[in-house]
């Protein structure tokens, strides 16, 4: 497998020049042949698989899995950002690091094109799973499913009903115009100085906020052919960007938000009652942040509302995490068994506490299976369950043609240019053009 690379390395050692070692190693790697996936072992019972995700589930659950299948699990706990870095490094270097790991919705196109993950439909009956897992569509690329969703994250609108009532706002806004008018009323009444949270910091959270707002205006940022659909002033994406920037300029959004990231805005503004609404919030926040006494001063005051749209309630966009099998996995079949177990309705019910608190998987908020969300709602275990259930059923992928393989570049351009438009250094029109240029160049491979 190493061929020329190994020989070059050996020559480097013989030269005994420590100073040149790093340079030779680089050259060696450049010369070495690309490691192709070995196909891995078909061993199931008796295999020890490595699973790289966030915090581990309860040890007893993993023990149960081993007892049922004979597969031992070695868990690698990494934060989400570090994990993405590790996946990229391992995939680029074509090196094994785990048998099962995270597949983020935004990287599905990239992962699919580069063939970093096994098609899950080779191992599991994904077609039969689809009905209970509406977000499976976000993990489909080239006709194959590359990850099974385990976390039903999607973008939602949250409001602080107490603040809205104080400002004399009654009823739920159904359109963007009504929503904007309500926010203006909150501001003019003096209830809060800046009623809307938009995280304008140049980070991924700003990109997803724009996608959701674009959806609310009745469109998508890319069309089915993955071409930019936001350059015309009449387009939903253009209007969404203009609305966001105007909200800042007209004082609906705190001026300091120019440097506020998504989670920061949720934790320090929404959870502290400093703003009355977040248009694109995380779907679990009411239960996991706003209703938690130790970190929130708005317990019981917030709720999800159907996303106000151009002409009435709009849909929600999905940004879930899935779990997949890297092509370099040593035990892909055993990993598939694990994924089947990990994403099963039974296990998700356990993890959410439906079958006892000892089985709770901390950090696991909204299950990807609709049936489990329904059970949680019925038992009163999910704050805003009724609303979330309805939204999950209809939540759509961000990109109708699938996430493009050049998504990281695109997102970078989105948040950089929207941030610049918010600071006033460029116009919204210039921002839209710059983002479109990036998309067109990336799509053409230049």
């Amino acid at each position: 497998m190493w061929g020329n690379g190994e020989r070059s390395v050996k020559r480097g050692w013989r030269a005994a020049s420590a100073a040149l070692m790093a340079g030779l190693l680089v050259a060696a790697a450049g010369c070495s042949g690309g490691g192709q996936p070995s196909g891995g072992s078909t061993e199931v019972s008796g295999a020890t698989i490595t699973v790289a995700l966030g915090a581990p589930p309860p040890a007893a659950a993993l023990k149960d899995f081993t007892a049922q299948t004979g597969i031992k699990v070695k868990w690698v706990n990494l934060d989400w950002d570090s994990l993405q870095t590790k996946i990229s490094a391992a995939a680029t270097a074509k090196t094994y690091f785990a048998d099962a790991t995270d597949v983020d919705w935004s990287r599905v196109g990239q992962l699919g094109k580069l063939g970093w993950f096994y098609p899950m439909d080779s191992y599991l009956d994904t077609k039969s799973m689809a009905a209970d897992m509406p977000q499976l569509a976000s993990f489909t690329t080239g006709g194959h499913v590359v990850g099974i969703p385990y976390d039903a994250s999607f973008m939602v609108t949250t409001v602080n009903t107490k603040l809205l009532k104080q400002a004399g706002v009654s009823g739920t806004p159904k359109t963007i115009d009504e929503y904007t008018a309500d926010l203006q009323k909150v501001k003019s009444s003096g209830t809060v100085k800046y009623p809307l949270n938009i995280p304008f910091s140049a980070a991924e959270g700003l990109s997803t906020y724009w996608y959701e707002t674009t959806g609310a205006f009745g469109g998508t940022v890319l069309d089915k052919q993955q071409k930019p659909a936001f350059t015309s002033p009449d387009s939903a994406g253009y209007k969404a960007a203009q609305w966001m920037v105007n909200a800042l300029k007209t004082g609906l959004v705190p001026p300091g938000n120019i440097n506020v990231a998504d989670s920061q805005g949720q934790q320090t503004l929404m959870a502290k009652g400093q703003v009355a609404s977040t248009f694109s919030d995380y779907s679990g926040n009411v239960g996991t942040l706003y209703n938690i006494k130790s970190s929130s001063s708005v317990v019981g005051d917030t709720q999800y509302i159907p996303t106000p749209g151009a002409n009435g309630p709009a849909g929600n966009l999905s940004n879930p995490d899935g779990i997949g099998i890297p092509k370099q996995a040593k035990y892909p079949k055993a990993a598939a068994e694990f994924i089947k177990w990990f994403t099963s309705a039974q296990k998700q019910a356990d993890f959410t506490g439906l079958n006892g608190t000892d089985k709770v998987y901390s950090g696991f908020t909204i299950p990807s299976r609709l049936s489990v969300v329904q059970q949680m709602t019925a038992k009163g275990n999910l704050d805003g369950g009724e609303e979330l259930q309805a939204m999950l059923k209809t939540a759509q992928p961000v990109f109708p043609g699938g996430a493009p393989s050049w998504y990281p570049k695109f997102s970078n351009s989105v948040y950089t240019n929207l941030h610049a438009a918010a600071t006033g250094s460029i116009t919204v029109d210039a921002a839209m053009k710059a983002i479109a240029d990036t998309a067109n160049q990336a799509a053409s491979g230049s």
């Binding site: 100073a19 190693l25 680089v26 450049g30 690698v76 570090s82 590790k86 270097a93 090196t95 950090g363």
Partner: protein
């Protein structure tokens, strides 16, 4: 020191210049210290207090709950913090020892021996410092993987050594250059061999340079994140920097817990910097005033 130079040093600084300098020093100190103070303050707060509006500049209701969670036996994260602290100490110490050994020998050769292509080799060493470290990440990962060194102390230490060796060699080279040739020549005339001269004469004199190079290497190694993240797979080798980052979830950033972990992580490097400050400055300035 010449009388003229001595007089120049004693010349009093004019009032205006002195005030500007003091203001500058205060600003630089504040710029450096405030983030550390803020992390320290947050480490003694609950999440609610840390995010309170208006911001609390002091922990009004100080708590040790974050430290208890990080260090207390039986907590969900204490085992990881303990093991990763051991890992980081081992990795940094080994990398420092090996780097110093190799850098000393290489620096001695570059500064004292005469061989063909010496300058080319030396400048090649310096040139490697110009490479952005990330460009070598993937190749090094592949090589370490090929040799079965991923998730081993050996793999991480080797990568640290390859990264820090050029700077260490350069600092040691400058130090050797600052020592008079006469000492070595006297030893050679008295019949000592090169290695004996190095061991018995030069190394004792170069001890401050060795100490400062070791400190700088250790501190650089302590702050590493990306390379150990990629080259380690679990708690058997993950250093503290990687484990602290893993405390956060995708939708949840436990800022006070992470601040407390950050405070623990800077104790050792801060002590080193405070106690051995003289050596570190000396090492960085060696050769600059010749």
């Amino acid at each position: 020191m010449s009388p003229a130079w001595s007089a120049r040093r004693r010349r009093p600084v004019r009032g205006g210049t002195s005030t500007v300098r003091r203001i500058g020093v205060v600003l630089i100190v504040l710029w450096s210290v405030i983030p550390i103070y803020w992390a320290l303050k947050m480490s003694f707060q609950t999440e609610g207090d840390a995010r309170a509006i208006p911001a609390q500049f002091f922990p009004i209701r100080p708590t040790l709950q974050n430290y208890a969670r990080l260090l207390g036996s039986g907590s969900d994260v204490s085992g990881g913090i303990r093991q990763s602290t051991i890992n980081i100490v081992i990795e940094c110490a080994l990398a420092t020892i090996i780097t110093i050994l190799l850098a000393t020998i290489a620096a001695y050769a570059f500064s004292r021996l005469h061989f063909k292509g010496k300058n080319i080799f030396f400048y090649a060493v310096l040139a490697t410092m110009a490479f952005p470290p990330y460009t070598t990440l993937i190749p090094l990962y592949r090589i370490m993987s090929g040799f079965g060194l991923v998730n081993t102390y050996t793999g991480i230490v080797l990568v640290y050594v390859s990264g820090f060796l050029p700077l260490a060699t350069w600092i040691m080279h400058n130090y050797f250059q600052s020592l008079p040739d006469g000492i070595e020549e006297a030893g050679l005339v008295d019949g000592a061999r090169r290695l004996q001269v190095l061991w018995h004469l030069l190394l004792p004199l170069a001890r401050p340079g060795i100490i400062s190079t070791a400190l700088i290497t250790f501190l650089f190694a302590w702050g590493q994140f990306l390379f150990p993240l990629v080259l380690s797979s679990d708690l058997s080798t993950q250093p503290l920097t990687v484990v602290i980052a893993a405390l956060q979830g995708r939708h949840d950033v436990p800022s006070t817990l992470m601040s407390a972990a950050g405070v623990l992580a800077i104790i050792i490097p801060a002590l080193i910097a405070l106690i051995f400050n003289r050596y570190i400055v000396n090492g960085l300035l060696t050769g600059s005033t010749r």
